[in-house]
């Protein structure tokens, strides 16, 4: 820190501005392990009963939290995997191959990205009903993947664009096939983009609410977002503390991912490779 710049006023200001968020976070955590009398801010007693949803058999009409969590994981992982694999290959094609209608494709992909999901939801609903994928996790995965793909393709294309042509030419003259060149020489250069895109699409699917809610409302294919919503929807006496506990449980993987990978997540905005 340079001597002509004092940091404490800035820290104080930022701390003050962040206070509401910090308070919310603290109470989210505190309320999951305590009971508080209505109207009071000070918790009365420590309890773990708000976490009983993790161990108890579910009430009638509710799903088991673990099968819902598994669903969410399947949903997020498959979405992320398909987005990554498709973006990896199509980004390369759009960046490198001299295909017909390349510009049109690029523009089309971008237009798709510009559509808000909600505007498409009715037609998607009808399509899934027609194809028999309505109310199944597979249907939601496909729809979420399709909506995530435009960003993925563009991000990967951007990363591929930064890899010099000569590296590929050198690989070819060194005797490697086009595929080997891509796998052994180009892929390692776009590796940061790959990791970031994988994480981003995982997180996007993990936090997706509207698609599972509309397209797969049934218990069998419920995900955590819709489970959370069900928790307070039908009850005459909503248990907000349990709602918070489930919420914290739901947010935990996201926080862990951010803690571990925050460096890589930054990279997607850097948009380049370091040699």
């Amino acid at each position: 820190m340079s001597s002509n710049f004092r940091s404490w006023p800035m820290t104080l200001l930022l701390g003050f501005l962040s206070l509401p968020i910090i308070v919310m976070m603290v109470y989210l955590f505190v309320d999951t392990v305590t009971d508080t009398t209505a109207g009071s801010l000070i918790p009365d007693r420590f309890t773990l009963e708000h976490w009983r949803f993790l161990f108890d058999a579910p009430q009638a009409g509710r799903s088991n939290i673990w099968s819902v969590t598994l669903n969410t994981f399947i949903f997020a992982c498959s979405t992320s995997a398909i987005v990554v694999m498709t973006s990896l290959t199509s980004g390369y094609a759009l960046s490198r191959l001299n295909m017909p209608y390349r510009r049109l494709l690029l523009g089309g992909v971008l237009t798709l990205h510009a559509f808000p999901t909600v505007t498409l939801i009715i037609s998607i609903f009808l399509m899934l009903q027609m194809t028999g994928l309505y109310n199944s996790l597979l249907g939601v995965i496909l729809v979420k993947t399709a909506l995530e793909l435009p960003l993925g393709i563009w991000v990967m294309k951007g990363f591929y664009d930064t890899v010099p042509w000569e590296i590929e030419m050198a690989g070819l003259t060194d005797g490697a096939s086009r595929f080997t060149v891509w796998r052994r020489l180009v892929l390692p250069q776009v590796h940061p983009g790959l990791a970031a895109l994988g994480l981003f699409s995982f997180l996007a699917a993990w936090s997706e609410y509207i698609l599972p809610q509309v397209l797969a409302p049934d218990g069998a294919s419920q995900v955590l977002a819709t489970y959370l919503q069900n928790l307070i929807k039908d009850d005459r006496a909503p248990d907000f503390n349990m709602f918070k506990s489930v919420g914290l449980f739901y947010a935990m993987p996201v926080m862990i991912i951010y803690l571990i990978f925050n460096q890589k997540l930054m990279n997607i905005y850097g948009g380049g490779t370091k040699g």
């Binding site: 000569e166 590296i167 070819l172 003259t173 490697a176 080997t180 020489l185 040699g275």
Partner: protein
Amino acid sequence: MRILLDQFTKTFGATTVIDKMSLDIESGEMLALLGPSGCGKSTTLFAICGIHRMNGGRLLFGERDVTHLPSQMRNVGVVFQNYALYPHMNAFDNIAFPLMIRKMAKPEIERKVLAIAELVHIEGLLKRKPAQLSGGQQQRVALARALVREPDILLLDEPLANLDAKLRLEMRSEIRRIQQETGISAVLVTHDQVEAMSMADRIAIMDQGQIVQLAAPKDMYDEPVTDFVASFLGNPPIAFLQGTVEGKTIRLENSDIVLPLDAQAAKQGNGTPIRIGVRPEHFQPEHPVKISGKISFIEEQGREELFDVTLSNGMRLRSVQANGGAFRLGDEVSWGLAADKVLTFDPSGRRI
């Protein structure tokens, strides 16, 4: 190995970049493709290594017709202008890559990489990533990678363009040494005439997709076939004077300067327009055919001095002198041409 490019044609869309060009590279020689940007020299190089498809003609490596073979099956070694080292691999793996692709045995790879590293003097750097190497060292790694699988031909695309002046001098002789030690046929693409003259056995000078002249550097310098070749070779460059033939003399345009250049004038009829090319070393105080003018520019280069002399009609001659210290800017001088060294060209630029 002898490389033969026969009637090579290359088009991009509707434009023909190179039209029916033929080039014969002898075994073990270093041939420079020299020309201004956009003359088609890199296109030719990429056609030889198989990155560009040929639109017409044949390419022979020895007796083998490789015209339609993809790059991978041609056995060419290429050094790119920016070296194109694989940034995620260390120098050893970079050099070993072509051998690994051929599924060569590990000990064999190691032996070959070490041998070639020794040849290009990078034994101590093999564990480093390209980013940790200097420009000259990257260049050496790129050379080693191109040479390690003993290619039929080594292609160098502007290999010195990215180096600073001092390294350029060093790598110029290094590349030449390595090429001569391995005895490999090589093609050097460059726009720098000094590079071409100092490194190559023969130079093919290119302009607008055509080879204008193919000769050894010295022959090309002394006997250029066109004024384009004459102006491209030599630093400081050749100076041109416009004139017309008058009997056994040449009268310079818009002046009463008459040069008794009978040998050159005799070949042309009276009244024909003519261009005279004078290299700076052939315009000296002691030479016989005197011509007067005023010194309009002096450039001190340490070992020698460069003068521009403006004639009464505004034309300019250059002179380079090792001991010209006595002259000042603005001096009226009467220096001479070496009559037998003066080059003459017809109006279309062809040598007379």
